[in-house]
Assembly symmetry: C2
Homo-oligomer: 227 residues x 2
Amino acid sequence: MESIESPAFVPTQRSTVKRLAKRAEYDRTTVYQILDEGLICHVGFVVDGNPFVIPTAYGRIEEQLYIHGSPASRMLRTLQTGIDVCVTVTLLDGLVLARSAFHHSMNYRSVVVFGTASIVSEPEQKLEALRAFTEHIVPGRWSEVRPPNRSELTGTLVLALPLVEASAKVRTGPPVDDEEDYALPVWAGELPLELATAQPIADPRLSSAIEPPAYVTAYTRAATRQA
Amino acid sequence: MESIESPAFVPTQRSTVKRLAKRAEYDRTTVYQILDEGLICHVGFVVDGNPFVIPTAYGRIEEQLYIHGSPASRMLRTLQTGIDVCVTVTLLDGLVLARSAFHHSMNYRSVVVFGTASIVSEPEQKLEALRAFTEHIVPGRWSEVRPPNRSELTGTLVLALPLVEASAKVRTGPPVDDEEDYALPVWAGELPLELATAQPIADPRLSSAIEPPAYVTAYTRAATRQA
């Protein structure tokens, strides 16, 4: 899974997966695929000793994870002071139904990133981050929409979190029951889950002459991008 | 939205939604519906000043949120000492495509709960919590599977977080563009997203005589439960 161009993450004390270490993965390909498939991350930070966990969208360019928002946001105002942050992305792949209550589980892929976020102030890099942000959510969208103007750029705070200290955790496959429970007459197996789209809903103010583009009608998350 | 039986949450300093306060909701019905539809929460806690955000399953009985796991879990070992915790559940309902990059958004429903988790040690309450846990993920499952035995009960740490300090945040509807952008010839609207199931995959060791039950083949998250 590793290559010279893409060395694996080196587990640190806090990024080492402690529980069920057999599910841990530290190679960049796995971590990037999970980050690129996800749409929302959960950002954890500490204010006056209290933990906060806030969901937000994100983007990635190579070894940087970007989050953005209003300069007035409590989360972004806090993070820009350079405090430690933990960003987690979780993809739920299925429910795992065992024959015993105890062995029920879920199939999932998650990434946890630790680090310190810093402000992106260089305009060119900021614009690139916003492009990555939009393209992460809807690949193909950026070139069709009006790009940010000067006041929108100023009014957006972009933070970068270097992807240095990260780990993935992955569970796949059927349930694992106690040997004596396999004889129980109970259905057991996996119920796969996936993020599906429904019919696009046109903005009420949209001209009926404008059809939704293919990147909307054929939208899918799985394997949309490569690391 | 409120009733005498179910008073709204009283916003505290940390549970008050600061950004886009118009999206904030504090009534229990909204908060409980989001918690009951979600499958995974993200638990935030602080160890040696570092924030951790860990995805995990959960259950709810009335005004208690339950999480569980191995007594060896770093997360649960830390939480049982009674530190502050922040638990966030996020449901992603759709992508909001505006005519400008700046106004792209997502439709979502999220809940953030603050509080202190405590150990559930009373066996009767612990078993009830585990039942709620399984029924939360797959309603109808508990009565069909082998219940936890004494050693499994002992080997499971259950924590309760009282639902006292909580808030919800909800975005719905079409994009909101700048007035001058509505004339742009760009498709705009919502792309609804939902958690869908694929065909159940039987455990390779399952007898082919056992068919998947209706609560598996007709599985759906939306509105599975009432508060």
